[in-house]
Symmetry: C2
Subunit: 151 residues, 2 copies
DNA sequence: TATTGTTATACTCTATAACTATA
DNA sequence: TATAGTTATAGAGTATAACAATA
């Protein structure tokens, strides 16, 4: 992307603009932090979805993440190729694949979560810890209870 | 995109996930709000950049928005086709195009800004006005002073 | 018939490279 | 030579449609 000279005052107030650029910056910080561990931001999302939970089918994992099952196929192909995830046919329903983290996957996830936390810390550097918590809380409410009032 | 069943607790805390989904929701609300006025979210960004300011070249406008000049060409093609923006060669440097809102463009912008404000109001419904202001302020600091401490 | 995983394909958004006209 | 606008092209990311295996 071209260098951003900074928008006029109209755009600096604009929520879509602010959210998009904040998301892009956070995504770049995360990508850099994950690179040493050989995974990308979306792959961390998949691994977090698979972690600490009863085994899941590809479709269930995709629904959790809010992505299409065809998108999940490509993500799992990559993670399986790196030896971080395994796929087995489900004995109870052989149409399904049971997807799980491998041992290497759990270890990579542990390191990646620490790297992610550090990237978030850098992202939040310019605001106070209290403001950072309010930011996270406000986004959670907006994303997960978009129709409710407060919690 | 597939229906989102909701992620596990790990992802609900994840800033990239929260920012991405918040941005997508805000973008959808804005797109719906702008549809009656015949423009898209990115086109509103271009028009806001061109508004209330001395005339600008395409390249200057692109740099303000942080997009490539080739991307700006397509955006301006669309806006010019709708009669909302005009392009004229710059008399002082005929390599440049001076880009300006037309009268219709200024009127559409006025209506679009009101629609955008209403979309933001809907987006922010689940949080208090005070939290909403803190959210906007925190994002501004993070996006525009990513290396500074507080303001 | 319906569902799961898969493949092929297409669409959106954006960038890079190369062309043109001007400087 | 360098720059502004343009065009052609390519890549990333994602979705839809169609197919095989299974239910």
């Amino acid at each position: 992307m071209a260098r951003n000279d900074g928008p006029g005052p109209e755009l600096r107030e604009n929520l879509v603009y602010l959210l998009k650029h904040a998301q892009q910056r956070m995504a770049e910080l995360l990508a850099d932090a994950l690179k040493p561990h050989g995974i990308e931001g979306r792959e961390l999302g998949v691994m977090l979805t698979l972690a600490g939970r009863e085994p899941m089918s590809q479709q269930q994992a995709a629904q959790r993440l809010g992505i299409d099952r065809t998108t999940m196929v490509a993500l799992l192909d990559a993670l399986e190729g790196k030896g971080l995830v395994s796929r087995h046919p489900d004995a109870d329903d052989r149409r399904r694949n049971v997807v799980e983290l491998t041992g290497a996957g759990r270890e990579t996830l542990r390191l990646a979560m620490a790297a992610s936390a550090e990237a978030e810390r850098v992202f939040l550097t310019p605001v106070s810890p209290r403001t950072a918590q309010e930011l996270r809380g406000a986004l959670q409410v907006i994303v997960f209870q978009p129709d409710g009032r407060d919690s």
